[in-house]
């Protein structure tokens, strides 16, 4: 058994392996497969509860991952936001001295969540500009209906 605490380096190696086999497109294909086949719980929650479903989904995962974060839900404003002060996954990879992490490890977050949430009527904004310090943010905003002129 590979313990779940070693999962992040395992996935990082899987991304490297897939890229070696088929280039960056092969990694992206996998991320899309994962989004379609593994995030049914997020999709189900958001379909039933809207942005509150995001709150419930990430309340579970981020606490189990011992993340350092601020999470905000403002249903009136139609916005959900995660400010990740220290991502446990990226932090773990940055702390490994004997393994080179996959160069675009954090790219999977954007692909996975965007692919679930955009078809449900939300826009997804990710900021990975400080990811080398394991900091990032994810904003999910309800799309506004366009007014007819």
């Amino acid at each position: 058994m590979i313990p779940c605490t070693d999962f992040i380096p395992t996935y990082s190696e899987l991304f490297k392996f897939l890229e070696e086999k088929g280039g960056p497109g092969a990694v992206r294909d996998f991320w899309e497969y994962l989004s379609d086949n593994f995030l049914g719980n997020l999709k189900d929650l958001v379909e039933r509860k809207g942005l509150r479903g995001c709150w419930e989904y990430w309340s579970h995962t981020l606490n189990e991952e011992a993340a350092d974060f601020t999470m905000e839900l403002d249903e009136d404003a139609g916005e959900f936001r995660i400010l990740m002060h220290k991502c446990p996954s990226k932090g773990l990879l940055l702390g490994l001295h004997h393994v080179e992490p996959y160069h675009d490890y954090c790219g999977h977050c954007d692909v996975l969540y965007r692919r679930v949430l955009e078809p449900l009527g939300f826009e997804v904004i990710t900021d990975l500009s400080e990811i080398n310090q394991a900091r990032c943010s994810l904003t999910v905003r309800r799309k506004r209906a366009r007014r007819k002129r």
Partner: protein
């Protein structure tokens, strides 16, 4: 509707997200279907040799006690039942049920056809470049119950 805010520090929680087993299972399944079972074994071998290099170095330097400590630690971490018997040239590990498999079955995640390779291939790769060999003696796909051994190879 009120605004909700949740603030957490890393130290507020223990790092144990067992749903990751389901994600790894999905990855193994994907690789199996897209690239075949040899690719699954090669990926797991490469991961093990690379990520567990410090453990392999301990095995070379200090013998099988390094593996005993590793397996006792990881199964305890995930609330699994494990029994180890170590002698000079052999380590036998008996796992009553794989905590990863039980978590996936309990939560409806598909267990990959080749999930047992996370034991068989990983154990074999841990022995690469060492005087030891690995053998999977028993494995139950339904529960992940397993018996495996490491032994000093005959010269």
């Amino acid at each position: 509707m009120a605004k909700k805010v949740m603030e957490r520090r890393a130290s507020d929680n223990a790092y144990l997200h067992k749903d990751f087993h389901g994600a790894l299972s999905a990855g193994i399944d994907y690789l199996d279907r897209r690239c075949g079972e040899e690719a699954v074994r090669e990926f797991l071998r490469r991961f093990t040799v690379s990520f567990y290099a410090p453990l392999i170095a301990e095995l070379k330097a200090g013998g099988l006690a390094a593996l005993r400590d590793h397996f006792e630690r990881i199964y305890k971490l995930e609330d699994g039942e494990v029994e180890t018997v170590l002698t000079d040239d052999e380590l036998v590990v008996r796992v009553a049920g794989c905590p990863a498999v039980s978590h996936m079955r309990r939560h409806g995640y598909r267990v990959a056809r080749l999930w047992h390779e996370t034991t068989e291939t990983v154990n074999a790769a841990l022995c690469e470049g060492t005087p030891y060999g690995a053998e999977l003696i028993e494995y139950d796909d339904r529960t992940g119950r397993a018996v495996f051994r490491f032994h000093r190879r005959q010269p």
